[in-house]
Amino acid sequence: MDHQTLVAVLLLAPLVGFFINGFRYRKHNHLVAGAIATTMVFISFVCSILLFLNLTEMKEENRRIVVSFFEWLKVGNFKAEFSFVIDQISGIMILIITGIGSLIHLFSIEYMHHDKGVAKYFSYLNLFVFNMLLLVLGSNLLVMFAGWEGVGLCSYLLIGFWFSDESKAAAGMKAFITNRIGDAAFLIGMFILFLQFGTIDFANLNGLAPSTPTHDWLNPLTIACLLLFIGATGKSAQIPLYVWLPDAMAGPTPVSALIHAATMVTAGVYMIVRLNPIFMAAPNALLVVAIVGAATAVIAASIGIVQNDIKKVLAYSTVSQLGYMFLGVGVGAFGSALFHLMTHAFFKALMFLGSGSVIHAMHEEQDIQKMGGLKKYLPITHLTFAMGWLAILGFPGFSGFFSKDEILWMSYHSPMGHPALWVAGVLGAVMTAFYMTRLMALTFWGESRVPKNIHPHESPALMWIPLVVLAILSVIGGWIGIPHIISEILPGHPANIWEHWLNPMITKIPGLAAANPQEEWTLMGVSVTLVLLSSGIAFIFYGKASELPSKLSENFGGLYRLLVDKYRVDEFYEKALIRPFVWLSENLWLHVDVSFIDRCTHWCSNFVKGAGAMARTVQNGNLQQYAMYMALGLVVILSYILMR
């Protein structure tokens, strides 16, 4: 098969699945619906692998597959083709998407088997995969934007999948609208880039990116990058637009795993990586990205500490991990960020699915306070979850360790980084370790607090097979990007495949000094030590029934409440943005539209009516008076003529 067909199949297979399941939306058979959807995504996955293999066979200099289907929009100079590019970056992305996607589809079959709208669910899921592929494959900003909005739409549909629950529907809306804010900024960023470079094609844009970075804040490039980053904050749940992601947990858990952990939320990172030459030309924008990323990493992690909903914890964890990615991007470590994106996709998907398994076992119970000791009921889930836990912790050897450490190291080492960023990163890592351990402890370990009426049970094979696969990936996924200093001490000196693979696509950080192994070791050691310490404390706190947490929360009551209330950001937005706008709208409607404009028009009509009424008094029906006026006019005209 040639590339065009492959790409077409890759893209269209999920779309076909969407249509098939969409037209059977009334059917309840979860096996049929799931089989169709999973097959379709699996076909995509196969295509992805084939394409990826094709890619590897190519020469490194022009390792890219470009497929153009038709001209989408052409007006004047603006030209956007419906074309797709598969290169080092998107090649990895499609593998992640379709691979993890098919696993999650598989998982969903059992998970959703009670649900009546299972066909609808799978059709949405397929549509999401299609849009996500559109996003990552698009060879220009417009196609990317199509996917960008499309995934938002699917996210909206899937979050609000159980729409009869008002709060879930509201969560979907919130997600979409928050994304929309980012999208609007994205659009303007796109406009600026187009007006600046006259193209929106990635290849051309990256080629045209100025080699000398500009340090002007008001430079169009900087502004464009910042705007694109705002778009990314929306999609990737960064400060200040991260608020939708925790709420998005209202959707079915596999959805959270696929969309809100593994794929969609990483779109922002992907976008920046995709445009890295442009961003490199605007270091100020990257500085903002790094700061925001670090801040998000810390703040989200701190909120995660006190959450009791298993999915919320994971959600904040996702936000926090995404912050790491942006931190990495911000300091110029695009490869590391993408690496973390991949490993995160593995272990976070794993953990979400694991949590799904737990929730499934607990009959839709999500509160970790009501769990505990599930290890013995759910052995496979526990084991796999633990793998994820270790990975996210950054336990040496696990995938998260390599990627996270790389980012931390770069944030310190890169000329664009700063020790403060490293500190923030480590702080985040420490807190991550704490709450993750807390999650493990409260869920799986310790004594059972499960309510009497719930009888947890291990999930069926269709659910744990994906878990196992992902767990393996979480463990070994990082081995393709082993840093030099570690590979040096390892037998066989495994090469850093990742870095090598991505190298041509990533702009070099200007002025990057050679790595000092001693320094690197030290920092690594510090962070790992702190992380282990933190998880140890957490284990002590929560592993056994201890009084310590409650004491601590009593002592730091204010801080605790603030954390529980998630820094009251939602409330702040509600008060500062939503309410004023609704208030403004209502007042505009009632006071401008109804009371002013309409009143003006009524005033006009009343004026005419009044004038008519006044004139009507003259026209009182007294015929003789009319005649008199006529005579008067006659006399006046006559005398005027005569006197003239």
Binding site: Q624, Q625, M628, A631, L632, L634, V635, L638, S639, L642
Partner: protein
């Protein structure tokens, strides 16, 4: 004083008196009869102006038909002498009187002062005066050539009015009856 002059002044006097009668008679019947008189004298004045056909038509149409209608209606309504024949209001009445007087005065004054008009037209007047028969013929020819359209329109108007009047007259009790 020639016969023409005598005839004119006599007719003018009668016309004036009868016209005044139309306005001042409190009994509408007398007003109507005065108006008939005015019509007849105006017809006679037409005759003095060589418009014999018009004089005849004036008699037939006005005196013979229109005024008969008036008189008949008046008689049918059984209207006697009115106590208040004129509208009330001394002020508006005097204003109206003044207006009427002013109008007449202005026109009469203007006409009597405009010697040029009189001269310019009257010079060619006598030479051009047509006899009755000729003027009738000319009238007919004009009416049926140059003014044929107006003539037809008038015909349609009359038809419409005839129908409308019948409808109006047959309606019982005017517009306010449900």
């Amino acid at each position: 004083m020639t016969t023409d002059a005598f005839l004119f002044w006599f007719l003018a006097l009668v016309t004036f008196i009868s016209a005044l009668g139309v306005v001042v008679f409190a009994n509408p019947i007398f007003s109507a009869l005065s108006l008939v008189m005015t019509m007849v004298t105006v017809a006679a004045l037409f005759a003095t102006l060589n418009a014999f056909f018009l004089a005849g038509v004036q008699l037939i149409v006005y005196a013979g038909a229109v005024m008969v209608l008036f008189v008949m209606v008046l008689m049918l309504f059984d209207l006697h002498k009115e106590k208040k024949a004129f509208t009330q209001g001394a002020f508006s009445g005097s204003v109206k009187l003044l207006l009427g007087g002013l109008l007449a005065g202005l026109i009469v004054g203007a006409v009597s002062m405009s010697k040029e008009l009189y001269k310019a037209i009257s010079d060619q007047a006598v030479t051009n005066s047509a006899t009755g028969i000729e003027s009738t013929k000319a009238l007919g020819q004009l009416l049926f050539t140059q003014y044929i359209f107006s003539f037809e329109v008038l015909g349609i108007l009359l038809l419409v009015i005839a129908i409308g009047v019948v409808a109006l007259a047959r309606s019982k009790g005017g517009t306010h009856v449900k």
